[in-house]
């Protein structure tokens, strides 16, 4: 089932007499049939923090950062279909605190040296840490033993920075039709894998693949492509993550 692109709804369902309307933090949001809560909120200019969600890919619900209280129950907004009459809490102190803890978990699970990371300023994990007010992790760093895969001529794969969001897995399977990536193992031992003994270099992966461009951190890095935009001028250094979505909100 490919939900990757938001298609125009059939005319009969989109008729104005039968709209899907629901409430997010007291505001009325209108949704197109088939949209998730997160997609409808995006269109309405309401930013729900998220990490594993990517607008071009089917949602997978890995990170849980987009969790909202929907009709009284915590659910991930990326995988919850928008339904008429729903009540959604998004911007609450409790959810902000819980989301911040999730970001912190990812920081201590992997190794994320922001000051000297190529993605600094472009990294969605780092940007969410700032947006959600994470100062420094208070939990123990796990220092897991992970590898760097430099076998590919054009792409580096640094597993220390992988946050297991499954974006590359989904992109490679659904968009590139290659299925280069998958998970292996389970629990805290779960890893991104390319399956091939020879590493990424032994796969069909190409630097122009969708899978190479969707990584929210610096796990998948295109070689010889870094620092084209200098520090200080990168995406999240000029405006906080989510600003682009919030800019869509109609001015009162």
């Amino acid at each position: 089932m490919d939900q990757t692109s938001v298609q125009a709804p059939p005319a009969t369902l989109a008729m104005p007499q039968n709209p899907i309307r629901f409430i997010v933090d007291g505001m009325i949001v209108e949704a197109q049939p088939g949209q998730s809560v997160l997609q409808a909120c995006d269109d309405a200019g309401i930013y729900i923090p998220r990490l594993c969600y990517h607008p071009d890919l089917a949602p997978a619900g890995n990170c849980r950062v987009c969790t909202c209280k929907i009709n009284g129950r915590n659910s991930a907004a990326c995988v919850t279909p928008a339904m008429h009459g729903m009540s959604v809490e998004n911007d609450t102190p409790q959810l902000a605190a819980d989301r911040r803890v999730l970001i912190e978990m990812l920081f201590v699970e992997g190794i994320h040296p922001c000051p000297y990371c190529v993605a600094s300023g472009d990294c969605e994990l780092q940007a969410l840490g700032y947006r959600l007010g994470m100062v420094a992790p208070t939990e123990n760093y796990q220092w897991q033993k992970r590898k760097i895969d430099a076998t590919h001529p054009d792409i580096a794969l640094d597993h220390d920075r992988c946050i297991l969001c499954s974006r590359c897995i989904r992109a490679s399977r659904m968009e590139d039709g290659k299925t280069v990536f998958a998970f292996s193992g389970r629990g805290i031992e779960m890893r991104l894998t390319v399956g091939a003994d020879g590493g990424l270099g032994a796969t069909q992966m190409a630097a122009i693949d969708k899978a190479a461009g969707v990584c929210p951190v610096a796990c998948i890095v295109i070689k010889r492509d870094s620092y084209m935009v200098p520090n200080g001028k990168r995406r999240f250094e000029t405006a906080p993550i989510g600003s682009d979505i919030e800019a869509r909100r109609p001015k009162p």
Partner: protein
């Protein structure tokens, strides 16, 4: 050898018609044949099923009973649970280590033996217990070990020796409303066939039967939703992936009352309009495989399965058993479906619910073994009889798996509404200090709550009842429960994958006597976040060992608390140990 393996793998693929959704069957067959799943086997499986090799790896690497590297021909898996440890599992482990000259987790040089720990194997009433390949040996004593090893050594039939038969003893201690009455194979089906499928569902609704796995969803409503959902096929799945530590009542039913369970599945098949039922049997219960297949075959010959069941035209229904491969999460119904479809057992987001989009996207009802046994009994004895037992919200009988510090461990068939005190009297545990009810996912019950009733509206339980005496440490048991969740978290979502490990480390610090008040507050806060943010029931329940013991046994935490404002997780001596060893200054032993 490799050519042989290639032929074998191709045969296993052909056995399931190259169907990629049967990947678990193929992988289990390769594992059994070769002892592990080699890179060559992965490539062959990918080739034969049309999957990518990396997708095969994704599934195979998920399950504890599938190996990607060679291990010993004899896999000895010792059950490590709070119960097995108080019954002496550590001494059994030491006996195996001494006898084989290896440490737990290692393989002997000749490649004959691997000894390792595994999570609860469903033998809590007969610990210490172990799996030796698929056989189960119970009530182990240290004196047994040399004999077991000698017997295994003298056996030279290649990769899969099974010289040791299973020694599991009957577990039922007290039959009650569910099991005491007479029941012959087919009784439930014949009673159901006197009604229309809708009437069968009405009877189940009137009985107010709720799911026995622990969640307590009304079974009749589940069946009605499934029946009403449009689909090419409808399926009934029996969840026999009984993995909650301390429970074994489903094993008892499958071993000693299989016809009751299969009757229940067949009744469900009739009610749902299903033609196929699948029993998902946990890998730990592989030793029941042959006898369950015999039961199914006997029933086919008796006209109770297959074409025109009990002579009823157009009622065709059969059952396939799917073996699991060591993953607690697959007891969660949506993970179970993923596993049934040949994938890693990661839960699905809902909606859609399995009643609409279940197995192969078709409407599917997934019911616990005991629930299906109840359904068969309701057909025979009636909804009124069933609803007359138990309490207002919890009708009928409940099977309890009782183990630990008590005189008579085993399965008890009791009406809902029984208090913990009454249960402790029956099982012979007058001095219980606390009861871990419903396993690690449940809660530790302190004596002040022993008057509470076992019922959905009070002390809700899937059946696991672990009893601990006064010399057991409730905080350490809670820590062991966290170990379990660390190993069984599927890893799909952040809060459970990372949170279970952080919670375990927090408990380690407390048990190690290094935690301050701030540490305990931070741990409780983290536990609540994991409970709120996790994707499925496993992660939502995983903090329960921490939260329920902190709430009901605060004095045990207070007693361990350090008064300082800060104590590092690791002592300076421990942090420097490796450096000291390298410098030859080991003598400076670590203080606290």
């Amino acid at each position: 050898m490799m050519a042989n393996q290639g032929d074998a793998v191709r045969r296993f693929i052909a056995d399931v018609g190259g169907d990629r959704t049967r990947l678990l069957d193929i992988a289990l067959a390769v594992q059994k044949h070769a002892g592990y799943i080699s890179d060559e086997a992965v490539a062959l499986i990918a080739d034969g099923t049309g999957l990518h090799a990396v997708e095969v790896e994704d599934t195979v690497s998920f399950y504890a009973f599938l190996d990607r590297t060679p291990r010993g021909d004899c896999r000895i898996r010792l059950s490590r649970t709070p119960i097995s440890l108080i019954k002496g599992a550590s001494r059994i482990a030491a006996a195996f280590e001494a006898c084989l000259g290896i440490a737990i987790g290692e393989t002997t040089q000749d490649g004959r033996f691997t000894v390792e720990w595994t999570n609860d194997i469903g033998m809590a009433d007969q610990e210490p217990a172990a799996m030796i390949n698929s056989a189960v040996v119970t009530h182990l004593t240290e004196a047994d070990i040399p004999g077991i090893i000698a017997s295994l050594r003298s056996h030279t039939c290649g990769k899969n020796p099974f010289p040791v038969g299973s020694t599991v003893r009957p577990s039922l201690v007290q039959a009650g409303p569910l099991l005491a009455g007479p029941f012959a194979a087919g009784d439930g089906i014949r009673a159901a066939l006197a009604l229309s499928p809708d009437k069968v569902i009405e009877e189940i609704i009137r009985s107010r039967l709720r799911g026995r796995g622990g969640a307590g969803f009304p079974t009749g409503m589940k069946w009605r939703l499934t029946r009403k959902s449009a689909g090419r096929e409808h399926y009934i799945v029996c969840n026999a992936d009984e993995g909650e530590p301390g429970t074994f009542k489903d094993r008892m039913l499958l071993a000693d009352f299989p016809d009751l369970v299969v009757d229940g599945m067949t009744v469900a098949g009739y009610a749902l309009g299903a033609r196929e039922g699948i029993m998902y049997l946990r890998g730990e219960y592989t030793y029941l495989w042959s006898q369950l297949q015999t039961v199914l075959q006997t029933r086919r010959e008796a006209g109770l399965l297959g074409h025109a069941i009990c002579g009823r035209q157009n009622f065709d229904f059969d059952i396939r058993i799917q073996l699991g491969a060591g993953a607690y999460i697959c007891g969660e119904e949506s993970s179970l479906l993923e596993s049934l479809e040949g994938k890693r057992g990661a839960p699905r987001d809902r909606p859609p619910f399995p009643t609409e989009h279940g197995y192969l996207h078709q409407p599917t009802a997934i019911d616990n073994v005991e629930t299906l046994a109840c359904a068969a009994r309701i057909m025979v004895s009636g909804a009124d009889w069933f609803a007359g037992i138990g309490t207002k919200e919890s009708t009928g009988p409940k099977l309890l798996s009782v183990a630990g510090d008590c005189a008579r461990p085993g399965v008890y068939d009791v009406p809902f509404g029984l208090t913990i005190n009454e249960l402790l009297d029956r099982v012979g545990a007058p001095d219980a200090a606390f009861v871990q009810s419903s396993g690690p996912s449940g809660q530790a019950v302190s004596p002040k709550d022993f008057g509470r009733q076992i019922a959905y509206e009070d002390l809700s339980t899937g059946g696991s009842t672990m009893i601990f005496g006064a010399d057991r440490d409730v905080v350490d048991i809670a820590r062991q429960c966290m170990d379990f969740f660390v190993e069984e978290s599927c890893g799909w979502c952040t809060p459970c994958r990372v949170g279970t490990t952080l919670l375990k480390q927090g408990m380690d610090k407390i048990v190690g006597g290094r935690a301050t008040r701030a540490d305990m507050q931070a741990l409780a806060s983290m536990a609540n976040t994991v409970a709120r943010m996790s994707r499925c029931g496993l992660g939502q329940m995983a903090p329960n060992p921490v939260l329920t013991t902190m709430r009901d046994f605060p004095e045990h935490y207070e007693a361990r608390m350090r008064s300082e404002t800060f104590v590092p997780t690791v002592s300076l001596q421990d942090a420097l140990r490796e450096a000291s060893r390298i410098q030859g200054r080991e003598a400076s032993k670590a203080a606290s």
